[in-house]
Symmetry: C2
Subunit: 242 residues, 2 copies
Amino acid sequence: MATQCRNCPIRKLDLFTQMRSEEVEFMERFKVGEMTVDAGAPLMSEGANTPQLFTALSGMGLRYKLLANGRRQVINFVFPGDFLGLQAGVMNEMTHSVEATTPMRLCVFDRSELWTLFKSRPERAFDLTWLAALEERFLGETVTSVGQKSAIERVAWAFSRIYRRICALGLDRDGEIPLPYRQQDLADALGLSLVHTNKTLARLRDRQLASWSDGRLRVPDIEALEEAGLVDTSLVPRRPLM
Amino acid sequence: MATQCRNCPIRKLDLFTQMRSEEVEFMERFKVGEMTVDAGAPLMSEGANTPQLFTALSGMGLRYKLLANGRRQVINFVFPGDFLGLQAGVMNEMTHSVEATTPMRLCVFDRSELWTLFKSRPERAFDLTWLAALEERFLGETVTSVGQKSAIERVAWAFSRIYRRICALGLDRDGEIPLPYRQQDLADALGLSLVHTNKTLARLRDRQLASWSDGRLRVPDIEALEEAGLVDTSLVPRRPLM
DNA sequence: CGACCTGTTGATTTAGATCAACTTACGTGG
DNA sequence: CCACGTAAGTTGATCTAAATCAACAGGTCG
């Protein structure tokens, strides 16, 4: 039996904007089920026209694109609260793939009901657009990091962003968060080679800015890390949850 | 006296999805005016909370972010039909700046009316979300190009995308389009140095793939250029126009 | 046990950055 | 009308951050 939205495990977090109770009721109707997947499971694939939209509830994943030359770009990492499938929802085609890195639990929505949402729930439609704008904002920052920063700045930037997000989800425990990706994933996200990423991680460790091993990231001083990553510290607002 | 939407100079192009007449009427009310600006004029700036939203009607511009270290990332180029200010519209703050490269003419909308649009015009709200998803798609592709491609592939990719778009706007004339940017702008868009960009342009010219000088880009064989740029040639759908 | 995956480290190479000149073209002001 | 300053493009020489190549170590699993 699927969790009812009123008992949603993450909705109440400060990270998210709060919904009015009619909205919660609407989402309970909009939601068609829940899905749990194993680590490594593909969730959506580039070019496909998935009938389903998801909101991640727990676990972590990643979005990526493959190139003709075999290289892979990790577009970003997927954390609880992220909405998956907007492109399929409005344009009928995903232009990137999504896969689960750890086991994941996701809310499932029916894509064909999306238009109903726009017609009957303008505030939810607005929230969806907000999420799209937030994604655009984040990708603009990613382009900037990959295009203009040195290796150490890029890794520091990525760790800062991830650390802040995971903390906001309440998953940190004395300065440490779970980060269950491989170095190759980070390398592909930042446009760096695996070897150079590894050496850059060692440098960050030496400088006591961040230490990532055994799937856990320890950040002794987040502000110092943000500075090292030239991170734009303008406030990231609360985000809507679909 | 501002152009009325019914006489919009670009709306009828095949590039754009067609609107129903009620939608056109609604847009005429939503539109509060028109603006023309000189080359070099700033349109929006990072961190600011502009009260206005725009749709570009003519001319070209660019979006960019500046870093603490003085470097600049050009996020993308702005062409007629592009919508500007979505971030300000939903999140009250731009995270990048926009400036006019040539003189531009723009439709002006009132940000505070955006919520009215969501409440009373769900199909227009849907279109806006579509545009946001399209932007996300394009930025994903940009990250992939900047993160994973060689200099010549990146330039070929950018030229392909630009060429296709400008042709769709009907601005091409025997295999040539206007492209009034500086080499520095392209360099900042692709994460390359100015000097290396210049040398890469020479290589593309030698290989007869693309020749850009005096503000005009000539492309003898767009398919060959796309191949050189590892361009994902899956169909780019018609886009909504706001 | 052996195959495979992930991480680590050192040696070598290279794409692209940086540095430095020089050329046009285009104002602007004397 | 010319001198000078500035912006954009071009080209060659040199440097370097990061890529590539190679080898090995520890874990895990069938």
